[in-house]
């Protein structure tokens, strides 16, 4: 294609993007002459350039658009949505023609008479010519003061009357000029004189991409040199090599920055989309954009463009209610969609928030069931947040009807997949009647990443450093050991059982080899943490990500490959893929039907340890509470004054039998579940550890029997759920007292819709010397306020029926009676956006439910922190 034409296509595309945005702005501020003249000028430029390049069809459409804009400018035509829509149509047509030219290299044949006719009809001059330039009124020669002008006018008028494209100069007889002459002008290869007053230059994307490739190679070569030097003693190469290394890093930074583009480029289309939607649906929507200048890698930008567009479209189409409904709900008639972008810790955050109706939980429930994603029974036990997550599942769409704007077959599942593919995450929060917020977090660049190089079965692999949380060396001698529970490997890490995947196992590498000294790479993907077992760990390297070969695309464990400093090609592991494998292994042996559901939604479930003690019935205990599972030699158990203790890690650990009539064995193996807290341990003696399963907590309470919370169906089996607190206090009467804060009982209100959770937390608090009152939801809690109850602290769940925690917090903070109470959120969802929302609603602290063992401690800490802040504020007030 001709260079000039290519330049024209690029320039016009830019102009059109600006036109879209400006027109939408203009429609709202029709009195703003600056915007209008800007719009007029852009359309005018497009038309003018078409004339130069001999593009009559394109020029005619632009001319029609300019014509109508001119009438706006001169006040001859009112700015109506219909008129703006027509101009936008003209822009779309220009865009379509440009797209065709892009592929064919020449203006497509045909005519746009219909559109132009429609536009001219609106402009009120159906006779208006669409050729360029327009005919003007016969010149007035009476003014003799300007001979040159007069001569010129004669000439110009002559040329125009004869429908000549070019107005020529006085002495030259007007003659038609081939309009396509421009393409034939030979290009001068000499360097241009410098353009003036311009601090930026345009560079072809290809040039930058090539540069990036070269830098990548340079990084590899640098790594290679560093690798060679690493084994050497200090020599004369060391210092220059370090310099080279630094310069390479700086260069890499520089080029990476060159690839950066403001996210506003991806937002350009959005005002137009929202505008079209408001016209189509009759809603009033304002789109606000903040941080449009926030920059990110253009490759990343390309990948999030479509997801962003989709989400904004969803918000406008389904999120924002129509004006009447909004007014009825006490909201302003105009809905708002707010886009917000900012940098934080090597990531870019993009927030898309609307103040619409929020997601319809009931509809999601119905849809999820109707589409076979889950069952009525299962969904009944799920929290709001868990139900919301269904919109990210394949085969789910909340659109009630397919409108002209949504329903293009792209669902939120594709959005999530796209975002996760570039190492990002997406979080969702929605409050009924108040709106929906998405928070997207993505890395700034993809091309070069820091990675940890590991080895399994003699092969090396790279794991993106972004996902690596920590490394744990494991061996039989060290404290950390890989335990196997019912064929699933787990690692006990600081009171948390971590599911593991073995790289050897999962990739089908030969087993055996160095089995004694191994490493676990603690890896995080979204909210999931799991461990990857590898044989060796090398160091971290900057690696250049090369896309994975098509042959390997079927496997979900690789994201690409790279070349290491020593020249070898290795695979880059996909933590996402491995994480799902970790989930599968954890449920592999559970009942198949339940197991299937478990894999699909494993982040919303808890792990349970199943065991038998004092009978054939299965007992279950939340796995988070168990520190360790030990098989003790029964002979080592000492019986002291009717109690049992054992030497355990240089301490005496008290043992408590689950069954009061437990017969202690003289020899053989005694299975012990170890609980620990604050450096103290206690062992619960059981008969047999059966399994670890993942499932939802769906517990029915039974009559109070000491040591049991109730019964539940877990993994398709009826089990008794154990009350750990009961046994802890048996071992240490003062188990919880260390966390008690004051001698006098203080009064806490615990608000949670789960009876199981209330029963789990209330005893913990009671034993920490708290007086506890419970309520099942916000409504119940506020009733207590009406009855004049007062509390020192209110601990509330977030997702609850009738009135959720955020609404409750708002209600508490907006009434004098409880406004001074300490408010602590306790939720199973403690993502950044959740915490943010909680703080906004008035919570002083936000704790994660998952960390139940440390609950009393965390509560005590939260109360102390909140009090300290309160006192600091008081002091400030006094000081000022």
């Amino acid at each position: 294609m001709d260079d000039l034409l290519r330049e024209f296509l690029a320039e016009t595309a830019e102009n059109l993007a600006v036109l879209d945005v400006e027109l939408v702005r203009f429609e709202r501020e029709t009195s703003d002459a600056t915007i209008l003249s800007n719009i007029f000028r852009l359309m005018h430029t497009i038309k003018g350039t078409c004339g130069f390049l001999g593009l009559p069809r394109l020029g005619a459409v632009a001319h029609a658009g300019e014509n109508i804009l001119g009438k706006f400018r001169d006040g001859e035509l009112d700015v109506t949505p219909r008129a703006v829509t027509l101009i936008l149509k003209a822009i779309d047509q220009i865009r379509a023609l440009l797209a065709e030219m892009e592929t064919t290299g020449s203006e497509p044949a045909g005519s746009d008479e219909d559109l132009i006719g429609e536009i001219n009809a609106l402009a009120g001059d159906s006779a208006a010519p669409t050729e360029i330039p327009t005919i003007f009124a016969p010149p007035d020669f009476s003014d003799a003061g300007f001979p040159v002008a007069a001569e010129l006018l004669v000439e110009v008028a002559y040329a125009l009357k004869h429908d000549v494209h070019i107005a020529s100069e006085i002495e030259v007889a007007p003659e038609p000029v081939a309009p396509a002459f421009a393409a034939a002008v030979p290009r001068d290869s000499e360097t241009k004189e410098p353009a003036t007053a311009s601090s930026s230059i345009r560079v072809n994307v290809e040039v930058i991409e090539n540069l990036m490739t070269l830098i990548s190679e340079l990084v590899l070569t640098r790594n290679q040199l560093l690798q060679m030097q690493r084994g050497q003693k200090d020599n004369e190469f060391k210092v220059p090599l370090q310099r080279l290394s630094h310069i390479t890093s700086d260069l890499q930074d520089g080029v990476t920055r060159m690839r950066m583009q403001p996210i506003g480029n991806a937002w350009n289309k959005l005002p137009r989309i929202v505008r079209d939607l408001t016209v189509a649906t009759g809603k009033k929507i304002e789109l606000t954009m903040q941080g449009a200048e926030t920059e990110l890698d253009r490759q990343v930008l390309e990948m999030i463009k479509d997801p962003l567009t989709h989400m904004v479209r969803n918000s406008a189409d389904h999120g924002i209610e129509d004006g009447a409904r909004r007014l009825a709900a006490g909201k302003p008639e105009t809905g708002t969609i707010a886009l917000d972008a900012y940098h934080e810790s090597g990531h870019i955050f993009i927030r898309i928030a609307d103040d619409g109706r929020g997601l319809d939980l009931d509809r999601i429930r119905q849809k999820a069931v109707a589409n076979g994603l889950t069952t009525e029974a299962v969904i009944a036990t799920m929290s709001e947040q868990q139900i919301l997550q269904f919109i990210f599942r394949p085969g789910f769409s909340t659109a009630e009807k397919v409108t002209s704007v949504s329903g293009r077959g792209v669902g939120m599942d594709v959005v999530r997949t796209n975002i996760e593919r570039i190492g990002g995450t997406i979080e969702l929060s929605s409050v009924a009647g108040r709106g929906t917020t998405f928070l997207i977090k993505i890395p700034l660049t993809l091309a070069i990443v820091s990675a940890l190089i590991v080895e399994a079965a003699g092969q090396r692999f790279a794991i993106p450093q972004l996902n690596v949380v920590e490394l744990v060396g494991v061996s039989d001698r060290s404290g950390a050991r890989i335990e196997t529970i019912n064929t699933s490997p787990v690692l006990r890490l600081r009171d948390r059982l971590l599911p593991l995947v073995s790289l050897r196992g999962i990739l089908g590498l030969e087993p055996g080899g160095r089995a004694h000294d191994r490493f676990v790479i603690v890896t995080q993907v979204g909210a999931n943490t799991f461990g990857i077992i590898v044989d060796r760990v090398f160091d971290t390297e900057e690696i250049v990500v090369k896309p994975v070969a098509p042959l390997l695309r079927g496997t979900r464990f690789y994201v690409g490959n790279t070349i290491l400093g020593d020249g070898s090609v290795i695979m880059i592991l996909d933590p996402n893929g491995l994480s799902s494998a970790a989930g599968q292994i954890a449920t592999a042996d559970s009942d198949s039907a339940q197991g299937k559901a478990g894999v699909a939604a494993d982040s919303e479930q808890s792990s349970f340890l199943l065991f038998r003690a004092g009978g054939r019935e299965l007992k279950a205990i939340p796995l988070e509470l168990v520190s360790r599972i030990e098989g003790l030699n029964a002979a080592t158990i000492e019986h002291v004054g009717g109690r049992q203790v054992v030497q355990y890690r240089e301490h005496l650990m008290p043992l408590v039998p689950f069954d009061a009539n437990h017969q202690w064995k003289e020899s053989g193996l005694q299975e012990i579940l170890v609980f620990s807290d604050n450096g103290r341990c206690m062992g619960l003696a059981v008969d047999e550890v059966v399994d670890i399963v993942r499932d939802r907590m769906a517990i029915e309470l039974s009559s109070a029997r000491p040591g049991l919370l109730g019964s539940a169906i877990i993994a398709g089996k009826a089990v008794d759920v154990v009350d750990v607190g009961h046994f802890l206090t048996q071992a240490f009467a003062d188990w919880f007292e260390i966390t008690a804060m004051h001698g006098t009982a203080r009064h806490a209100l615990l608000v949670d819709d789960s009876p199981f959770f209330r029963n789990l937390v209330a005893p913990l608090l009671t034993s920490a010397n708290w007086k506890v009152t419970t309520a099942a939801d916000g409504v119940e809690a506020l009733k207590l306020r009406e009855h004049g109850h007062r509390f020192d602290v209110i601990i509330s769940d977030i997702e609850m029926p009738n009135m959720d925690g955020l609404t409750l917090a708002n209600a508490i903070r907006s009434d004098a009676r409880w406004s001074q109470v300490l408010l602590i959120a306790l939720s199973s969802h403690a993502g950044e956006s959740d915490i943010h929302a909680g703080r906004n609603a008035g919570f002083d602290e936000y704790l994660a439910k998952s960390d139940q063992t440390h609950l009393p401690e965390n509560l005590a800490r939260a109360i102390r922190a909140a009090k300290a802040r309160g006192e600091a504020n008081d002091n400030l007030r006094k000081a000022s």
């Binding site: 320039e11 003018g48 002495e171």
Partner: protein, 127 residues
């Protein structure tokens, strides 16, 4: 050192700037470019061009304002200014000439038109 006449092309369209520059170079001139009136004025503060091709509709500073500014600067030697625009209204042409434009040509123009102008002001010769 190239002593060929210098022409400043002022237009907000990259395509038109390049097109004009290509024609002018073909005619043996040196060229410089400015994307709006303000940039053109800046340029002329440092370097006086022999010829200015000046668009009318531009952001930042339009052609007529730029023209007045250039004339107010009283440059030596006085550059030739040719208004190049699709603004075809009589009042516009008069306004430009009053402000000190030497010539007024309509867009789109081509090599022939430009060559005639250059010959006329003695910046080029017809081969």
């Amino acid at each position: 050192m190239n002593t060929n006449p210098l022409c400043l092309v002022v237009d907000d369209s990259r395509v038109i700037r390049r097109l004009a520059a290509d024609i002018l170079k073909g005619l043996g001139l040196r060229t410089a470019e400015a994307e709006h009136g303000l940039a053109a004025v800046e340029f002329c503060r440092a370097t006086t061009p022999h010829l200015v091709l000046l668009d009318w509709n531009m952001p930042e500073m339009d052609g007529i304002t730029c023209l007045r500014a250039l004339r107010a600067m009283d440059l030596h030697p006085r550059p030739w200014v040719v208004m190049c625009t699709t603004e075809s209204g009589l009042s516009k042409i008069r306004e430009a000439l009053e402000a000190g434009a030497d010539e007024y040509i309509m867009k789109p123009y081509d090599r022939e038109v430009l060559l005639d102008k250059l010959v006329q002001v003695g910046l080029a010769e017809r081969a």
